[in-house]
Symmetry: C2
């Protein structure tokens, strides 16, 4: 049991180290030697867990995809309306990209020309945005004359842009930047009666949807 | 004179080939041998013109920056209002990224982790968007309650996103995609009286600003 725990911890450290190395150096330039060194494990231990650099990248991508699945699942559970779920998911995703090396690497690998890939994670985000907006339309949340297609174009492009800009200048991933984006888009996208209930800032689980309106106890 | 022309043509071919190779393989993975082969010149000719791969990348970036300068210069000349100039510049820039290997590489190098760089071209675009929006605000073009800062965030993020998405799926750089983006943003950004005169589609030099309104001669 202890042995299994140690193995799981080593695997975890390797995925984390690989994620950091892929983001920093790119897939091809990141060396397995540097990854095992960064993880603090021997090169033998790396090869015991992963047969190739490709297998490591696949593990990073799988883990990022699993975390992404949780983001969208939670947005559906807590978001209330489809539009609020979309705003919330954007905030959670951008803060994960800022803070979590595996999620950051998952998206960085999507645009890494040195690794053959189909940008699956970015594709999943794209499809989820479109699906959320279709649900918002069905729920009568979208403003008149606004199409799911044009809103999808704007939101997918803007969020992919935030991810790329944030890879070198972290303020693009900040809650302020995401709130500014939604503050601009929401009045154009949402039907007026939806707008008053829509919070463009980050939601906090268990807290009221508009935390700024509620004074905090001293 | 003939010799000078030949040298200029060789240099041109090398910059073009390097641009293609950097975009396709990344800076570090692109080899000088492959670049000279792609350009159809000897390795000696490459080294006569460029002392290193870095010097080649610099030449690509310089040429992309010069072309970018022309885009913004022309937008200022032909665009009429600051806001129309911004819309027009976005269209021209995205179509150049789609069609011109050097411009495409200029932006790809900005996000290439295998080359040390300060993303100068992307930074220049960012500053120009902000400057155009400040001029639009001074000219009374921006809708009430909309700030230069939030519009800059949205437009810089969305255009950077289009560039990245377009690097693997060209339809993101199409005039349709850019027109959709502006069709969504313009009614939120522009003062109502500006909106009716603003064309969200690509302008054609010498043609009326709204070509779709003018029937074409048969």
């Amino acid at each position: 049991m202890v042995k299994q725990q140690r193995a799981a911890r080593t695997r975890r450290a390797l995925i984390q180290a690989a994620a950091e190395a892929f983001t920093q150096d790119g897939f091809t330039s990141a060396s397995l030697a540097a990854i095992s060194r960064r993880a603090g494990v021997s090169s033998g231990a790396l090869h015991f867990h992963f047969e190739s650099k490709n297998a490591l990248a696949q593990a990073v991508e799988d883990e990022a995809a699993a975390a992404f699945g949780q983001v969208t699942h939670r947005a559906a559970l807590h978001g209330g309306t489809p539009l609020q779920g979309l705003v919330d998911a954007t905030h959670v995703l951008m803060s994960l990209i800022a803070e979590d090396a595996v999620m950051r690497a998952g998206f960085a690998l999507c645009r890494d020309v040195t690794r053959e890939n189909d940008a699956a994670l970015r594709g999943a985000w794209q499809r989820w945005v479109e699906d959320a907006l279709s649900r918002a339309e069905q729920a009568g949340q979208l403003a008149e004359g606004v199409s799911v297609r044009e809103v999808t174009t704007a939101i997918v492009a803007a969020t992919v842009g935030l991810e790329v800009l944030g890879s070198t200048q972290e303020q693009w991933l900040s809650r302020d930047a995401v709130t500014r984006l939604w503050g601009l888009l929401a009045p154009r996208i949402a039907r007026p009666r939806e707008l008053s209930a829509l919070s463009c800032g980050p939601s906090r689980p268990g807290s009221p949807r508009r935390p700024s309106a509620a004074p905090r106890p001293k």
